[in-house]
Symmetry: C2
């Protein structure tokens, strides 16, 4: 299946600024993108990057400088073939979790993100369009209902966890298996066990 | 399968104090417990409550005033039959998600919680004991390895989301299907869509 991975090539992951330099944020974002691309490929998906600027990676890259919603909708308008859209910051993605997404039934398959976002979609209905603004998970369910598309929701902690803020890095160190987790360890971050929960610290 | 649901009957969910009165915290905790018990039963599990004090619910209740770890270990020591331990604050639990847990292979099956905790376990090895202190997810994996038990991990957003703090209530309103979600709605809480994410507000 065609799998589009949108990627913000510009100033990524500003909420990680307390921990990372701009260069580190760029490198970590790239490591997360590689994690997603590797997992998609291992799950028999065909990843292509939809980026706001140039990216060095061994996958086809299309550059579209527009915001996420119009850029993804342009891709969906191009073709009626099934298309998955998988966010690039799913640092816990594994082949198994992506495989559950790509093989799930439904004309619209949704992976919600924490806080009501949409982390991944499979679109098999020609009229479906995305809108990532606000509580997009509910909006996408609503939009699917409006066009009579069947909906299914994937229950995956790995795919529902996008990495935006420092606390999310603990999840990467706890559960990550790919390049993003390796990058964090190589950069000297490790788990710090405090009262009942874990955080991250630089060793 | 025998499914033990530990429940703190005393002063539950102190981190929800900014939103709920003590009576409301008690009622909401009870609604979460009912959500878990309903889901376990619908998944063909046999729920029994392991509580620190009296609880009114249509399931067998054992009272053990000790801390979580010794109370659960006392249950595991009683029998060699497979036993699941499912936290009472899994407000997003559904029969399907609990079914994935109860039917998973492995002598120790673990559902991690956000932040390195353990939200649910299935124990099919007589020597396994729990330790809920600290990063218990990693400790439980380690403990299973030490006794040569096979381990599997369940990838479920519903079961990995325990409800501790106000932000978690948005997840209940977004995804909940049982008594906990109904209680929140009846108490006048609804989703509040702010910049890109959702919170909760009282209507």
């Amino acid at each position: 299946m065609r799998v589009v991975v949108p990627f913000a090539a510009g100033e990524p992951k500003t909420r990680l600024a307390p921990l990372f330099s701009p260069e580190q944020r760029m490198a970590f974002s790239h490591a997360m993108l590689r994690t997603v691309v590797d997992a998609v490929r291992a799950a028999d998906g065909d990843p292509e990057i939809l980026a706001t600027g140039p990216v060095e990676i061994d996958a086809p890259v299309t550059i579209d400088e527009r915001a996420l919603t119009p850029a993804v909708n342009a891709v969906l308008a191009e073709t009626d073939e099934p298309t998955a859209v998988v966010t690039a910051d799913l640092a816990l993605a594994t082949p198994e979790a992506v495989g559950r997404l790509l093989t799930a039934d439904g004309e619209v398959v949704i992976v919600p993100g924490r806080g009501g976002g949409t982390n991944a979609l499979v679109v098999r209905h020609p009229a479906f369009r995305v809108d990532y603004h606000g509580a997009s998970y509910l909006d996408h369910r609503h939009a699917a209902r409006e066009i009579g598309a069947t909906v299914s929701v994937i229950d995956s902690y790995r795919l529902s966890t996008d990495v935006d803020e420092p606390a999310d890095l603990a999840e990467v160190l706890l559960h990550g298996e790919g390049p993003a987790c390796e990058w964090l360890r190589d950069a000297g971050f490790e788990l710090a066990v405090e009262e009942g929960r874990v955080g991250v610290e630089r060793s």
